[in-house]
């Protein structure tokens, strides 16, 4: 067994203790391998390889951060939503995303990192989140395009994750996915209404689809030959399909739905390849993707600053709540004594 897999081993151990620890790791690995082979689930108390834990923690925390940062472009339109019904739906949607963040941070915490630590990493700019949220939501139609394309891409990505080998992640994704499909539907409805509205409204919808299409396709991550983490994730039954496979499926779905909308996708090279039975699309600007990922997108600084501001402004509230809770515990102890 690789030394890196020795977990929770204190520094100084007797030879007997060392041997017992090695035995535990060997048993754990055997169990882990069996779980992978059977395609069943690892739970928080189960032994798991250190790399598996690390990789999951990275993926789940990034996912949680994406939900939280992803609230911002849409929160931008809550106050200006053009009807009260749309305002209610949008408020509920953005609030759902906060809920998704909560489930996911909780799932990540089962792997041994606290929400505070993850939040600190996010604010310090050390953690990643989905690049798409660094684009601005310029018009009301962006609420439609984000719901339809961004939540739509998220669903394609996340439905297979409901079967992820790590129990808490898979279960969190089941809850998330249920809500995401409503998010996509409300986005579609916004676009449909605009597309059937005045010429100006229809143009607004088309313009938003044009702007969000390519970034949404890039949400699936780099092409398979340039995706170092994917292979590992698939071997561990976390990821089920490759980036390109998921992207191709997504394009197929969008091609059908855009017709119902009466709009077009800004990609003349979309076609169904009869040989591979897969949907193909035009080239994507991966350079732009890398630039945005590296922090040089339109809204990177703004998004992080807004999160930092909310976190800092709320610090005294969290301190107060913690102090109050501690006092209550003390009171109970005194009462019991």
């Amino acid at each position: 067994m690789a030394v890196q897999n020795l977990q929770s081993v204190p520094a100084e151990l007797s030879p007997e203790e060392l041997e017992a620890a090695a035995q535990r790791d060997a048993d754990g690995q055997a169990n882990f391998d069996r779980v992978m082979a059977e395609d069943s689930r690892i739970e928080p108390r189960d032994w798991m390889p250190a790399d598996y834990r690390k990789s999951l923690l990275r993926q789940i925390s990034q996912h949680a951060h994406s939900e939280i940062i992803g609230m911002q472009p849409e929160a931008n339109w809550i106050s200006r939503a053009p009807s009260l019904k749309r305002k209610a739906i949008l408020m509920a949607k953005v609030q759902d995303e906060a809920g998704h963040g909560l489930y996911l941070y909780s799932a990540a915490e089962t792997l041994g990192q606290s929400r505070d630590e993850m939040m600190d990493a996010l604010i310090a700019g050390k953690a990643r989140y989905s690049s798409i949220f660094n684009y601005p939501a310029r018009t009301w139609a962006d609420m439609g395009a984000i719901g339809w394309l961004v939540d739509g891409a998220a669903i394609c990505n996340q439905v297979p994750l409901c079967r992820a080998s790590y129990g808490p992640y898979g279960r969190a994704m089941v809850r998330v996915c249920k809500e995401e499909s409503f998010h996509q539907r409300q986005g579609f409805e916004i676009l449909l209404e605009l597309a059937n509205g005045t010429a100006e409204q229809k143009q607004m919808a088309q313009d938003a689809v044009n702007r969000w299409y390519a970034p949404a396709l890039m949400m699936f991550g780099p092409p398979d030959d340039d995706s170092p983490n994917s292979r590992e994730s698939m071997a561990w039954n976390i990821k089920r399909f490759s980036n390109d496979e998921l992207r191709s499926r997504f394009v197929g779905m969008m091609v059908e739905q855009v017709r119902v909308l009466g709009l077009t996708l800004p990609d003349s090279e979309i076609r169904f390849n009869e040989d591979t039975k897969k949907w193909e699309h035009g080239p994507l600007d991966w350079n732009e993707f890398k630039e945005v990922l590296a922090g040089r997108g339109p809204c990177n600084a703004q998004r992080l600053e807004r999160r930092r501001e909310a976190h800092d402004d709320g610090a005294w509230v969290r301190e107060s709540a913690a102090a109050y809770a501690a006092k209550q515990v003390n009171k109970q102890k005194e009462y019991a004594a």
Partner: protein, 313 residues
């Protein structure tokens, strides 16, 4: 903030962070507690149902009742607009969810009251929609009280405003659920259940902030001082509510002051806070005389709808 050790099951910890007060819990406040992008079956009194009743003539408010519903609707609408701002900015994710839920509840109540009010406010006996009322009235045509227009400021001010609003609305809706006007009664009966949770949320936070740290206590005291001048306006009677109260359709605001004072007083006493001794502002919202804040709220809320008059969304 996290609750170490309590999170072995991700799916069980939603909305139960250590400072969450359960507003977001699954047992919470009505349909807005679920994903509101979800259709709630069997919910008999959505704004859409009221709109249908208004259109088909099944529900038609008198002019007085319409004016009264406008007041309640505007209060809730302006508060919802204020609370919506917290979503993505709250001190804690649990509060993004909780304040979002409360804002959604308020928006739901606003939509119901406004839709009903619209039934008597159209030209030539016709109806106005909730959106015509929300987006195409001018500032002096709004009927919200000044308290609802007050800025969010910091979390303590928002909580102080919530504290007053939720105790006021609870006493109001509890009685209005007995109104002789069936639609008002139905809207209030649904709303009071939700506002009960708002009360719990704000009271818990008043206790926490007052009893937490020196800083939070100072801020809570300051927050209460800032909102207290606008408490008086909520309980003022005028000719309209007096007429409606006599006919059993409405609740005279003055009649709920005593319960409000007693119940808020109990929480303040528990928090070892004093009832702020602040001179009352004259108000005037019910006559369309508003605080300086409302114009900005409306400018933002109405901008897109007014850019495309007649468009549907």
């Amino acid at each position: 903030m996290s609750t170490p050790g309590a999170n072995t099951e991700a799916t069980e910890t939603h909305g139960h962070g250590d400072i969450s007060t359960g507003v977001a819990a699954p047992t919470g406040s009505g349909d807005s507690n679920a994903s509101a992008t979800r259709i709630t079956p069997g919910n008999a009194l959505r704004p859409e149902d009221i709109a249908l009743e208004v259109r088909s003539g099944l529900a038609k408010p008198t002019e007085d009742v319409a004016e009264y519903a406008l007041r309640l609707g505007d209060d809730a609408l302006i508060l919802a607009q204020r609370l919506g701002h917290w979503i993505s900015r709250a001190p804690e994710l649990e509060e993004d969810v909780a304040l979002g839920n409360i804002g959604l509840d308020q928006l739901g109540h606003a939509r119901s009251f406004l839709t009903y009010a619209g039934g008597a406010l159209g030209e030539n006996g016709g109806a106005k929609t909730e959106d015509e009322l929300a987006y195409f009235r001018r500032e002096h045509e709004f009927r919200s009280a000044h308290l609802f227009e007050q800025p969010n400021s910091d979390f303590a001010v928002t909580i102080a405003r919530q504290f007053v609003v939720s105790y006021y609305q609870f006493e109001l809706y509890r009685r209005l659920a007995e109104s002789k006007d069936a639609t008002l009664a139905a809207i209030a009966a649904k709303a009071v259940k939700e506002v009960d949770y708002h009360r719990d949320h704000s009271a818990q936070w008043v206790l926490r902030l007052a009893g937490g740290t020196d800083e939070s206590r100072k801020r809570m005291i300051h927050g209460l001082k800032l909102v207290w001048p606008y408490v008086g306006e909520l309980f003022e009677d005028d000719a309209l509510v007096t007429r409606l109260a006599e006919s059993g359709a409405a609740v005279a605001p003055s009649s709920i002051r005593e319960d409000f004072d007693r119940l808020t007083g109990e929480i303040l006493a528990e928090a070892e806070l004093e009832v702020p001794d602040m001179p009352a502002a004259p108000g005037g919202g019910r006559q369309g005389k508003h605080s300086e804040h409302l114009g900005y709220i409306l400018a933002e809320m109405q901008v897109l709808a007014r850019e495309y008059p007649g468009a549907s969304w």
